[in-house]
């Protein structure tokens, strides 16, 4: 009788889990070269496209957004947890340390 809601919930849960797992794999891959992460770091975050307002607002929540140049967002004072959050986003192409403006 309630097979359909259970099945739909299982499918949704599977999609969410896969999405989360893919994010974690992406995070490891993007941050592999940066380990160990400093308590606060400055980074150049390159996206797969020119960032929109949505991406800038999201990144602003994770540190101090200094500058946007073409596809790259330059950020200061990013904590390790925030950097991991950023790295999990599939639209982030690469993250490299930045020595400042």
């Amino acid at each position: 009788m309630l097979r359909l809601p259970v099945l739909a919930s299982v499918v949704i849960a599977a999609v969410v889990l896969l999405y989360g797992a893919a994010g974690l794999l992406g995070e490891r891959h993007k941050l592999a070269a940066l380990a160990p992460l400093p308590p606060r770091g400055d980074y150049a975050i390159t996206l797969a496209f020119a960032p929109e307002r949505f991406h800038q607002l999201l990144l602003q929540d994770q540190g101090r957004l200094v500058e946007v140049r073409e596809r790259t967002v330059y950020m200061k004072d990013v904590a390790p947890a925030a950097l991991r959050d950023i790295a999990r986003a599939y639209w982030v192409a690469s993250i490299v340390p930045w020595s400042g403006p």
Partner: protein
């Protein structure tokens, strides 16, 4: 048949675009909408907006339904509560949620609290009134029979009144769930910076009308999914379990 109708509509829409001759800002083609959908996925905007909207929707629906059921049972069982609260509830029911949202913004600011309150407000009333109807139409014969067997008030509620009211509660939930979608769009347009409602609004603001149409289609599909995969089976299950009402599909 349904799929054929949709395909026909899409074909007519695509063919009409060059005939109308307006730019994609005024009249985007289905291919523009598909392109905008792909763009929103690629840029990670749609998954975040969808998750935010669903989170708000479920929180508002759950809270509004819980309050509506509790209120309906209380008013349905207690004559004093009914006399005291009915005029106020009728008055509040007449004020649409859109009128409340600016006040909620003043009190709670832009963000999740305002959206949650707006959703609770729209879900509360249909759930309350349908629960009330279910409680008041519980068969008195069964209530008396259970009482004569020595049942306590709580047992009467649990064994007779709530099962009798269940089809009404489910109907209220279904109506409230539909209202909550409209409330969500209004609330996100006014009080959010993310969500499908915001996407609908922001798309036209930034002259990306195809994104607005993506938002509208997502809203429609979400509602179809929730109704098809959750609300209808739940309604059918309660009808079959308690056998107190019959819906149009079962009659056919």
């Amino acid at each position: 048949m349904g799929t054929a109708g949709v395909l026909l509509l899409l074909a007519a829409w695509q063919v009409s675009v060059p005939l109308v001759g307006l730019g994609p800002y005024f009249y985007p083609a289905p291919t523009d909408v598909v392109g905008a959908f792909g763009d929103l996925i690629r840029k990670g905007i749609l998954p975040v907006y969808l998750a935010d909207s669903l989170e708000r929707y479920l929180a508002g629906l759950a809270t509004g339904a819980a309050l509506g059921i509790a209120g309906g049972v209380l008013i349905g069982l207690n004559r004093r509560a009914s006399l005291a609260l009915s005029p106020l509830l009728k008055f509040l029911f007449a004020i649409v949620e859109v009128a409340w949202i600016p006040i909620f913004v003043v009190w709670f600011g832009y963000g999740p609290k305002t959206i949650l309150l707006a959703l609770v407000y729209v879900v509360f009333f249909p759930v309350l009134y349908n629960t009330l109807l279910g409680v008041r139409t519980a068969p008195q014969l069964l209530v008396n029979a259970v009482r004569s067997l020595g049942a306590s008030s709580f047992q009467v509620l649990r064994l007779v009144i709530l099962p009798s009211a269940l089809p009404g509660i489910i109907t209220g939930l279904r109506v409230g769930a539909g209202f909550a979608f409209r409330g969500l769009v209004f609330a996100e347009i006014i009080a959010a910076k993310t969500g499908i409602g915001y996407l609908i609004f922001e798309g036209t603001q930034s002259q990306q009308t195809a994104r607005t149409i993506v938002g509208m289609i997502i809203m429609g599909l979400l509602w179809l999914g929730i109704d098809q995969f959750y609300l209808r089976p739940l309604e059918r299950a309660t009808i079959q379990r308690w056998g107190l009402t019959v819906d149009a599909e079962q009659r056919r």
